[in-house]
């Protein structure tokens, strides 16, 4: 990690290279990651990395440009400043770009130094524990998954006097257990992300995935409308889709957000609330965003009622909305979605145990997780994807037989409008993002209506 005193010196050096009529903000980041990727029962792609870099955004006569560099030597910083200035000089004006704010507050968050620097042998041992837990004595299995652990740290400064810092520690793991002696084969899945590795029991995680593996040959299920119980990974994925489709600042600016025009109106079932809260230990905590704005609890849906989009400096200014501290990383500036929520937490007034959730669904399907979810129609929040790694039939309030995977094509808001009950047991999920840049803390979710449009053969 880069000590704050060194970071401040580097950022000051950068700002000193700018002409008097320029304003700027800059980020200095460092990260260290270890990844134990395993497949066919062994660690097959172990990975370690250490990276540092800086990004500089300059505003010169209302012209804005950003440059990033991995070279923090004096020559590298000089080149970085020159690059950003040259790009800004060529840019068209952005007359609405706001002034950089002062203030140097970073929210207090949880961080584990031990997790941030977990030794390679310890990482490998956790992966081995996952593999051991996933190996069932009853039938032959093939096990795959990943353990990612590490830290990210960034300091943010600007020419209005801001200097603030944060760091985050992360360990995320997932495990797939496949049973190939069935035709079609069956599989089970489990995943978890935490900021402190001591909260992750590798063997239990592996066992959990093995427990979800079908004991009998999966049957068929016809496409159509079902009541569903989405287990944690599937529930988190559905909620996470709203981050892009509903709460991104850019979608509100351009008018394609599925929630635009619904401020203060009910958009989903009143039992559901969603907030973004990177300060919560339920999420993967970070103290500031990439513009140095302190993270705080941001209500998005409150009792099913829309509370507004998240913003960064640019979108807050354009929308006339409060700054919520959701500036994306400089590697993705002004990306398709702009500012988006990154640490979502699903809560509910109606919570139940696993057994109560299954009983609530009564007749329907249990979905462990979704695969390859993509937007079909943003304005109507319609998405499509497949079920994967543990799809079961629910009959008479009990989980009965496994079924082959199905494709769904469904409006997110439509599905969440039929929410029946949310599981008490929650967990933090990062889905496909093993670095935890975004996460959803959620429990299983029972829904009254979910549309499956086709089936596959496994």
């Amino acid at each position: 990690m880069i000590p704050a005193s060194e970071a401040r010196t580097i950022l000051d050096r950068l700002f000193d290279r700018l002409p008097a009529n320029a304003t700027a903000d800059a980020r200095l980041y460092s990260s260290g990651w270890g990844t134990m990727r395993f497949a066919v029962g062994r660690i097959h792609q172990p990975h370690a990395e250490k990276l540092r870099g800086a990004s500089l955004r300059v505003v010169l006569d209302k012209k804005v440009a950003t440059a990033t560099s991995g070279d923090l030597t004096p020559a590298g910083l000089r080149a970085l400043a020159e690059d950003a200035l040259a790009l800004a000089r060529a840019a068209p004006e952005d007359p609405k770009f706001p002034q950089f704010p002062g203030g140097s507050r970073s929210s207090t968050i949880d961080f584990s130094a031990a997790t941030a620097s977990l030794p390679i042998d310890r990482q490998a041992r956790i992966a081995e524990n996952i593999l051991a837990g996933a190996s069932s004595p009853d039938f032959p299995v093939r096990v795959a998954g990943v353990l990612s652990t590490g830290y990210e740290q960034w300091h943010v400064g600007n020419t209005s006097g801001r200097f603030t810092s944060t760091r985050r520690s992360i360990v995320g793991a997932n495990v797939l257990v496949e049973r190939l002696d069935l035709d079609p084969p069956g599989s089970g899945w489990s995943e978890r992300a935490v900021w402190d590795h001591r909260a992750l029991d590798g063997e239990a995680l592996g066992r959990e995935a093995a427990d979800r593996v079908p004991r009998v040959r999966p049957g068929t299920a016809k496409p159509g409308k079902y009541r569903v119980l989405l287990d944690g990974p599937a529930s988190a994925k559905l909620v996470g889709e709203l981050a892009y489709l509903g709460f991104g600042g850019r979608g509100w600016e351009e008018g394609w957000s599925c929630l635009r025009g619904r401020m203060g109106k009910r958009a989903v079932a009143p039992i559901l609330s969603i907030r973004d809260d990177a300060t919560s230990p339920l999420s993967l905590p970070q103290g500031i965003d990439f513009e140095g704005t302190a993270k705080r609890r941001t209500p998005l849906l409150d009792g099913g009622v829309v509370r507004g989009p998240v913003t960064d400096l640019r979108s807050a200014s354009r929308l006339g909305r409060p700054l919520t501290g959701h500036a994306p990383s400089p590697e993705a500036p002004g990306g398709e979605y702009g500012a988006i929520p990154t640490q979502l937490i699903l809560t509910s007034t109606d919570q139940g145990s696993w057994e109560e959730l299954v009983k609530e669904v009564r007749t329907g399907l249990l979905v462990t997780r979704f695969h390859y979810v993509r937007t079909v129609h943003a304005g109507r929040s319609i998405i499509t994807g497949m079920t994967r790694d543990g799809t079961y039939r629910i009959e008479r309030g009990e989980v009965t037989e496994p079924v082959v995977n199905l494709r769904f094509t469904q409006s997110v808001l439509g599905a969440l409008s039929t929410a029946l009950l949310v599981g008490k047991a929650r967990r933090c999920y990062t889905g496909e993002d093993d670095r935890g840049n975004s996460s959803v803390s959620a429990g299983p979710l029972a829904l009254g209506d979910f549309r499956f449009t086709s089936a596959t053969v496994f």
Partner: protein, 484 residues
């Protein structure tokens, strides 16, 4: 650079490490310029340099990387990679087997450019984007327009303990425009030359000029607006003609990924998934109709998947994948080729930058042209649908059940292109779909597309790959409209 590579290799070859390779990328540069609604939303320039070291014991791999080019960082990174390989080796007793391929001891490769995109003035690039973006706003329903440009260049040095060494310098560029028309909750996007950033190639600024975005913008804006009022397509099985860009995406998702040897070996099972193709299928699996000819060709000039040498040091190859509808080859590496007894590696191991380990990657996975003009393809169709330009894509983890939506569609009526349709979607199962292809467009309909955003691996890697595709006709495909 050579000294630093030698330092890394020497430090790696200790205590149980039987082989190592090292890559330096210095520098990797990228530029991303985007203008939305007259305002630059992204003007970004990125530079980075660093080292990646991959080692192996008799049983396992290790990979470590650092964004610093000093002898001490090289030594420490190599030792870390060795430590990882030894730790990974604890989890298996099975020896690693590799093909015997070794690349040349002094190879060189460089992209062929007429105008280095990093030397072209940013004023010129931004002027082109601004004018093109302005041209999209043909109607008040066009609520948003975007014109964007991307370029990447990478200087790389590679050396392996087995004697392979090369240097390469590769540049990729691309650009595109997108108009977003909105009325109520109806959102229509139309892009050129295709969606998700446009078209890309291994070329210079001349490639972007040739895209002629300024001239195309007006039609793009008008089509976006017209789509707002178009009806949904008729629902049901029909004859489908796919435009070249959508067919390229179809090849990518349902043939390219499905024939990656590491997926077939279940190395990607926990993330992207496996494949419906089995280890014993090469030489006998019927993948599609006899008209289906697929070649993975890393030697095509100008392709995003073209290179001199892969990241195991092997020279680029042309590998037949499907011949007359039968699977005949795979995208492979030294390890996966050995495990599948393919004889030699397909030389398809590539890594993102210096900071990721090489994976089996698509090169330019091309569908060979047939001998029908577009009008000949349409001639035999009384009622059908023509679709182009991807809008959404989803496919299961074995690459069987797919569902794709496109930005643009027209009904085919009595052998001619008819009225527009809105939010068209088609879906099916991979072997059935390719089996239903009964006519393939001629070379005049074929284009080599650049796909700059192929995700794979953990930690995630973005790969840039190519797909040459003509237009083609498919019978009895399920088509419907989103949101009906």
């Amino acid at each position: 650079m050579e000294e630093l590579l030698e330092t890394a290799l020497a430090a790696a070859l200790t205590n149980g490490i039987v082989a190592a390779d090292a890559r330096i990328v210095a520098p990797a540069r990228a530029e991303y310029l985007s203008v939305r609604d007259g305002v630059p939303t992204a003007l970004t320039s990125t530079t980075g340099s660093g080292l990646g070291v991959r080692v192996r014991t008799e049983r396992a791999w290790g990979f470590a990387t650092v964004g610093e080019l000093t002898p001490s960082a090289a030594r420490e990174t190599a030792r870390t990679a060795a430590k990882l390989a030894r730790a990974a080796g604890r989890t298996t007793r099975e020896p690693l087997r590799l093909t015997r391929d070794v690349g040349p001891s002094s190879g060189r490769y460089a992209s062929s450019l007429r105008l280095d995109p990093f030397e072209v003035g940013r004023e010129e690039k931004l002027a082109l984007l601004t004018e093109a973006e302005r041209g999209l706003h043909v109607h008040r329903s066009v609520k948003s327009g975007e014109a964007s440009f991307r370029a990447w260049t990478e200087k790389k040095w590679f050396r392996s303990s087995e004697g392979s060494a090369y240097a390469s310098e590769i540049t990729h560029v691309g650009a595109g425009v997108t108009a977003t028309a909105i009325r109520g909750s109806e959102v229509q996007r139309r892009s050129a030359p295709t969606s998700f950033g446009g078209d890309f190639g291994q070329a210079g600024w001349e490639f972007v000029r040739a895209l002629d975005l300024v001239s195309r913008a007006d039609a793009v804006g008008r089509e976006a607006v017209a789509l707002l009022d178009a009806p949904a397509p008729p629902e049901g099985p029909t004859t489908l003609v796919l435009g070249s860009d959508q067919l390229a995406l179809q090849v990518h998702e349902s043939i390219g990924h499905a024939t990656e040897a590491d997926r077939i070996l279940a190395y990607e099972a926990g993330y992207a998934g496996t494949s419906w193709v089995r280890t014993e299928d090469v030489g006998q699996l019927k993948y599609g109709s006899p008209q289906l000819e697929i070649v993975a060709d890393a030697t095509v000039p100008g392709g995003l998947g073209s290179f001199g040498f892969d990241d195991e040091g092997l020279p680029a190859r042309r590998v037949p994948i499907v011949h007359e509808g039968i699977l005949v080859g795979l995208l492979s590496s030294r390890e996966s080729a050995a495990r599948l007894s393919l004889g030699a590696s397909g030389a398809a191991m590539r890594a993102e930058g210096f900071h990721r380990t090489p994976l089996v990657r698509m090169t330019n996975v091309n569908l060979s042209p047939g001998d029908h003009s577009l009008s000949e393809l349409l001639e035999g169709v009384n009622e059908g649908i023509y679709l182009e330009t991807n809008r959404s894509w989803s496919i299961d983890d074995k690459r069987l059940n797919f569902q794709f939506g496109t930005e643009f569609g027209r009904r085919i009526v009595d052998g001619e292109l008819g009225p527009l349709v809105r939010n068209p979607i088609y879906g099916g199962m991979t072997p059935t779909f390719w089996g239903s292809m009964d006519a393939v467009g001629d070379p005049s309909t074929w284009h080599l597309w650049g796909v700059p955003n192929c995700g794979k691996g953990q930690p995630g890697q973005i790969g840039r790959v190519g797909h040459g595709a003509p237009v083609a006709r498919f019978r009895n495909v399920r088509v419907w409209g989103a949101g009906r």
